[in-house]
Amino acid sequence: MYTELNSILNTNPDSFTQGEFVLLSDRKSDASFLIHHFLSLYLRARCKVWFLGLVQSFNHYSAISQRLGVSLAQAKEKGQLVFLEGLNESLSVLIPQETDTRSQAMGFLRDPAVGLKSLYEFVRSSVTSSGGGEAGADGAEEWGPPVLLVDDLSVLLSLGVSVGAVLDFSHYCRATVCSQLQGNVVMLVRCDGEEEEEDDGDDEGSERLLKGLTHQCSLTLHVQGLPTGFCRDIHGQVEVCWRRRQGDGQYTQKKLFQYKVHDKGVSFFAPGTSSAVL
């Protein structure tokens, strides 16, 4: 986890808001560094984490988390981390074998029109069966509130799932994990094109998905490149937007930061205060 981002979001492993739906989004950029932040943050906070890794293998996240000081393999062994490796699972759906008893979480690959109910069922049964925070019957360790991380939702659109189905899926995840179990949900959405004004007719799926998710979430972090172009010392900007009312009565509050990705972390700073400039 990145300490500067923790202070910006007012979170740390010991205290963070529960019941939050965090939306990470990017436009022509790569916001996956934020996924690693939240993954290591919640693992350090001793929460039970469900990770739907649909775009990368387990080893990828493991290697990066290693640099951030968290061992995913260990967490998985202890039962703190439940990892759905989408790439692996999809093989068993597309090339079914008799000996396969894996869940049908990725069943939507066969028929995208059906929607993501099976994926939600996987999440729901997994989250509620473990008790979501209660101690296991056989003396297993007691974990904190449940956290669901999804990386990422836009790939579902590419696989043929409709925007409505993805929005329903995120709604149900939020209803189960955030409202019912007081856990947190973090989802990543990626957009390709320019942000345009609405035309008539269905605009590109990812834009509509981003809007729908923004309405549902309580906190958004939007990553973009610098409007002035490529810079070696500043890799882009992050716009943080709190959508729920904060303690001091302020409603939607927005803050803009610039960031630079290092080997073992990411530094965030106010626009114009990069160490290369000062």
């Binding site: 069922e121 209803a175 019912q180 309405h215 939607t252």
Partner: protein
């Protein structure tokens, strides 16, 4: 006009609050719920988008007994075995049954949070039909709906808003937590009134109207920075003294057609060639200069 709408909606009225991702209209919706509860009306909320706790958050006191939340949030599509209320139950009979479940002397106000959720799953004509039937049906006195205008095509938004008697579109103002409400109200006589007001919502959901956007215009200009003088603080001199300014203004520019040049061209000097013209019998020689009326 916003305070009047908050005071009460006419019987059979349908109010739509249109919002977008940049400013959520739910806070204004809660203000409407709050004022309806204060007027001792029963409010039925059809909650698709937020949970009961989140909606009731901030609404305190005894009036909350009159707020009936119908949970369409935990399972709106019937994915579990015991859904409380699904989106397919959004029809006149089911809604009338829901509202009549709780008896109350005053007719109830139905709040729909949100219409966008329903429009995503049911076809717009069906939704419009149900809303129209509800308005005429008499089971509810008034309907208030929240609509995310950026989630639908313009035609869909237009059709649903056409049914409404009042539409409030909220957009944020750049600074602060204020927002601009663009209000369109259609009265029963057919008169349409439009208004724009800047408002902010306090913690107890009272709405404070702070004037019109045009009033804010000049105020925004004042805090703008004073224009800096670009010729100040330079290592070289960019300013002109008075004599220099005079000389500059006297200078005749090379390609400007001034009076002196015109007379020089029109009246040729000594030694230049002269043209002698003897008209032929066929020539139509007019002594008058055809270009005389040109102001060259």
């Amino acid at each position: 006009m916003l305070p009047e709408l908050l005071q009460g909606i006419d019987a059979g009225g349908f109010l739509i609050i249109q919002d977008s991702t940049s400013y959520s209209g739910r806070h204004l919706l809660k203000s409407f719920i709050n004022s309806a509860l204060d007027r001792e009306e029963a409010v039925h909320v059809l909650g698709f988008e937020v949970s009961e706790e989140e909606l009731k958050d901030g609404l305190k006191g005894s009036p909350i007994q009159r707020l009936h939340f119908h949970n369409a949030y935990s399972d709106p599509l019937g994915w579990t075995d015991h859904p409380a209320f699904t989106v397919s139950q959004f029809c006149l009979d089911e809604l009338t049954r829901l509202v009549k479940q709780t008896s109350h002397p005053k007719p109830a106000t139905l709040v729909i949070d949100s219409l966008s959720w329903i429009l995503r799953h049911l076809s717009p004509p069906d939704v419009c039909k149900t809303l129209h039937q509800l308005r005429k049906g008499g089971a509810v006195r008034a309907i208030i709906g929240l609509l995310h205008a950026d989630m639908h095509q313009r035609g869909t938004v237009g059709s649903v808003c056409h049914l409404a008697t009042s539409v409030i579109t909220v957009v944020p103002v750049v600074k602060g937590d204020k927002a601009v409400a663009k209000i369109t109200k259609r009265s029963k006589s057919g008169k349409v009134m439009q208004d724009e007001e800047i408002f902010s919502i306090k913690e107890d959901f009272t709405v404070i109207v702070q004037g019109k956007p045009s009033q804010l215009g000049p105020k925004l200009a004042d805090p703008k920075e004073q224009e800096t003088d670009p010729t100040a603080n330079l290592t070289f001199n960019l300013r002109l003294s008075d004599t220099e300014r005079e000389a500059k203004e006297k200078l005749a520019l090379p390609f400007v057609f001034s009076k002196e040049k015109k007379t020089a061209l029109l009246h040729s000097g000594p030694g230049s060639g002269r043209i002698l013209y003897e008209p032929d019998a066929n020539d139509d020689y007019d002594q008058e200069d055809p270009d005389d009326d040109l102001d060259v």
